[in-house]
């Protein structure tokens, strides 16, 4: 029977999609999975909306409309199969079940729909977002959280396993695999990811998709659409025997078999109920006009009123919130004058405000960056830029010819750049503290900064005693941070890059006449 197989199809698809997105985040690049991952990245709900706002129009920014349309048609299939955090919760629920033997009854109908809590959270998230504060989006969005968890927890695990195997092979002189560099994220970032993962996992183990139906803002938006969906799960009065088996397997706790009601807003279309019901007591079909109206009447309740009310009051109180959230400034001053060093945003992010207004802190750029210079920051951009990444030149530097982060960003916070365009973007500007330089302090040659500079914005010029000292040409500087990274005067660098609030343009270096011909006709020795 058809409906019986829906669950298997859903499980198969969700695992496939989950694997594809997990691979994208932990950096496994295999052809077909990669292509699928790219498509799925464009179909994530919040990233797609933000991309639409950031880049305004391209076919790829319309993923969220497709999801809304699908939800109006079929209900929350997005939540059951496309959302990677949803599948992660299902996996946790499944594992938790292994430790609860003997209990046939897993879930039961909950009449508490938590409408007020749910729509207050949604309203608050939307208000903050409208005013350019990404705090709640970055804290609650499921895609963002899946990314955070994958990059800070699953990726190190994957690298550890991969490297162990690689080193084992190298022991036999087989150099087939490339060991990956392990770059642990800052401990506070890992802590947040662990906390988020724990909250999601405990909720999933305890009450299935409780997170999706109380906290998740995407779940709340899609619930509004699912309430009006064309295809929906309903009880068949004549076949249902009130056995409650469907309730026991319902992760959303939305099946009320006593009253033969399905809360369409909470139903995530996992189709478990069809597999559990021995009598064919449920059906998935085009809703009749009557049932749709009945349902709509019953759901226009407190929750939605709260949603509108919070939205309105939030908008009014916004100026206050905004004042409190301005906290852009230096991360660790060290020897650098306070307030001098501004966080550096990735190339292609246009300006600090463009970046902080559009980044959902999913850390895909953090994971994809080959030099691992992009690192999550905590409050470097203030509250509204909670957890958004910046370039950390103490860890690494931005590769001059690389455009990787601009290719992967799903929200348009980092816009796509060609190699030639990227080389002309000034993300920051060099500053030199002559009093800390090795050459002045130790009176020995160094020049590590100039050596690494790809544009010669730092050049070594003759100084005292035949030594060479750095001289900076800020107008040539692209802000890659190679000088700061290479500078050996740890922990306080003698040369550093300060981020530009609005990215500038650097001259493109051309080859001119190309190589000169040598005009000598013998060796000079």
């Amino acid at each position: 029977m058809g409906l019986y197989h829906l669950k298997k199809i859903r499980t198969g698809l969700s695992l496939l999609f989950f694997a594809a997105l997990l691979f994208v985040f932990i950096g496994i690049e295999t052809g077909p999975f990669r292509a699928l991952g790219d498509v799925l990245l464009r179909l994530q709900f919040f990233p797609s909306i933000i991309r639409f706002v950031a880049i305004f129009f391209s076919v790829w920014t319309l993923g969220f409309l497709l999801i809304l349309a699908l939800t109006f048609l079929f209900g929350r299939i997005y939540c059951s199969s496309v959302c990677p955090l949803g599948t992660l919760q299902d996996i946790v629920t499944r594992i938790a079940r292994l430790f609860r033997r003997g209990k046939k009854r897993r879930f039961s109908f909950s009449s508490n729909r938590k409408m007020i809590l749910r729509y207050s959270i949604l309203a608050a998230t939307i208000i903050l977002w409208i005013f350019g504060n990404m705090f709640l989006v970055n804290l609650l969005d499921p895609f963002s959280n899946f990314g955070k968890i994958s990059v800070s927890l699953f990726q190190p695990l994957y690298i550890w396993i991969h490297n162990s195997f690689t080193f084992l092979l190298e022991g036999f002189d087989i150099y087939m695999l490339r060991p990956l560099s392990m770059h642990a994220l800052p401990w506070d970032v890992i802590l947040v990811s662990v906390a988020v993962f724990l909250v999601v996992a405990v909720m999933a183990a305890w009450r299935g998709r409780l997170f999706c139906n109380t906290i998740c803002p995407v779940g709340s938006i899609l619930a509004l659409a699912a309430d009006r969906s064309l295809f929906r799960i309903t009880f068949r009065d004549e076949a249902c025997t009130f056995c409650k088996r469907c309730e026991f397997v319902c992760k959303a706790e939305c099946l009320d078999s006593m009253n033969k009601q399905v809360d369409q807003g909470r139903c995530i279309n996992c189709f478990n109920c069809f597999t559990a019901c021995p009598k064919g007591g449920l059906t998935y079909a085009l809703a009749s006009k009557k049932t749709q109206e009945e349902h709509t009447a019953s759901t226009s309740d407190a929750g939605k009123r709260t949603f509108l009310l919070t939205l309105a009051s939030g908008v009014l109180s916004m100026p206050l919130l905004k004042m409190r959230s301005y906290g852009q400034g230096a991360s660790k001053p060290g020897m650098i004058p306070v307030g001098e060093q501004q966080p550096v945003t990735p190339p292609g992010s246009i300006s600090r405000s463009h970046f902080t207004n559009h980044c959902i802190a999913c850390y895909l750029c953090v994971s994809a960056c080959p030099t691992k210079v992009i690192v999550p920051a905590f409050f470097d951009y203030g509250l509204q830029g909670f957890m958004q990444p910046k370039l950390d030149f103490h860890r690494s530097f931005c590769n001059y010819d690389c455009t990787r982060c601009t290719e992967v960003c799903p929200t348009g916070a980092i816009t796509k750049q060609s190699e030639e365009e990227k080389k002309q973007i000034r993300i920051g500007e060099v500053r030199f503290l002559v009093e800390s330089c090795v050459v002045t302090v130790d009176r020995t040659d160094c020049g590590a900064c100039s050596e690494h500079c790809p544009t010669k914005a730092v050049q070594m010029v003759p100084w005292e005693d035949g030594l060479f000292i750095p001289e900076i040409y800020p107008e040539l500087c692209v802000g890659c941070g190679a000088c700061e990274y290479a500078c050996p005067t740890e922990p306080y660098k003698a040369i550093y890059v300060s981020g530009l609030p609005v990215h500038g343009k650097a001259p493109l270096i051309d080859d001119g006449e190309g190589p000169r011909e040598d005009d000598t006709d013998d060796f000079p020795f």
């Binding site: 060991p179 080959p370 010819d401 130790d442 020049g447 590590a448 001119g512 020795f525």
Partner: protein, 309 residues
């Protein structure tokens, strides 16, 4: 003189000439001025005026062939400059064609394994691939080794060193039964003025910052006390004469179409320095190297074979 006489005389003269060339002319100390000469006996071979592969083949022929350095079944470690994520035409890294030819030559001479590595400045994967070095080594049957993790480096002490008393050195260099061939590219350098063979060895240690922090020139010389390459082959085909060591465009280059080969790291650096218009003794790490008896930078005291193709 009629035509017959002319032919007779020229035949006799050329016969004598070749007799001389094949007997007395070959005897060391009898013909050309420096005491020792002939293939394999030069302190330094410098060839100019050809394409990279011609230059290399001629230079190794003059050096007595790779067989002099590589014994049957030996492992050869190559240290090219593959430090920068720039394409071959920018000449910030060793010419890949030259690398390929050296790998093939080592195998021809009987090498068991040919391994190459560099602790790169730019991202290692991008530098290895975009420099063309990794591809050339692999195509010739060699192995490009990973050198981007600290685990591949072992702490050693360097007796006699002034500043670099200990260093974490790439593990394969600790096995002194290996043949170690240094293959730098001749370049200008912002702070050390030149970067050739001695400076190229910065890419075999893990912590370069220590060198920068503790008298760079002294550390460069100190490292040679740990292990000097058995052979230095300097790529001077396309030479970065300004904005080194990374360069900004091909406008920084001069086509010198040359190669320098020597087993004396100081001699080869002295020759390279003078090609970049510097007095060798003006370069601090060369001067220190001379004081520490690492080699001989007085080119006038050396038996040099100069060839123009």
């Amino acid at each position: 003189m009629n035509r017959r006489q002319f032919i007779q005389k020229s035949v006799i003269l050329s016969a004598l000439g070749s007799l001389y060339a094949s007997t007395i002319g070959k005897i060391p100390g009898f013909a050309a001025s420096p005491a020792s000469s002939g293939p394999g006996l030069y302190d330094l071979v410098a060839v100019r005026g050809g394409e990279p592969l011609e230059l290399y083949r001629r230079a190794m022929e003059e050096m007595g062939g790779m067989e002099r350095y590589v014994k049957q079944g030996q492992t050869v470690i190559l240290k090219p400059n593959a430090s920068w994520d720039t394409p071959p035409e920018r000449a910030a890294n060793t010419n890949p064609d030259l690398m390929g030819a050296i790998v093939e030559d080592c195998f021809r001479a009987g090498a068991g394994r040919v391994l190459a590595f560099d602790n790169t400045c730019d991202n290692w994967e991008r530098s290895y691939e975009n420099s063309g070095v990794a591809g050339a080594v692999r195509r010739a049957g060699g192995q490009m080794l990973h050198a981007h993790l600290e685990r591949y480096y072992k702490e050693v002490s360097i007796p006699g060193a002034k500043r670099l008393k200990t260093a974490q050195v790439y593990e394969h260099l600790l096995d002194k039964d290996n043949v170690f061939i240094n293959i730098p590219v001749l370049k200008h350098h912002g702070s050390t003025t030149i970067t050739i063979a001695m400076k190229n060895l910065m890419g075999v240690v893990w912590d370069r910052r220590f060198w920068h922090r503790n008298d760079l020139h002294q550390c460069i010389a100190d490292f040679c006390l740990f292990r000097k390459p058995d052979l230095n082959i300097v790529d001077a085909y396309l030479v970065m004469t300004q904005n080194g060591p990374r360069g900004t465009s091909t406008a920084d280059l001069t086509r010198m179409r040359s190669i320098l080969v020597s087993s004396d790291i100081l001699a080869v650096d002295a020759a390279g320095a003078s090609m970049l218009n510097h007095e060798p003794a003006d370069i601090a790490h060369l001067r220190i190297g001379q004081e520490m008896n690492i080699g001989n930078l007085n080119l006038s005291q050396l038996n040099i074979r100069r060839v123009s193709l």
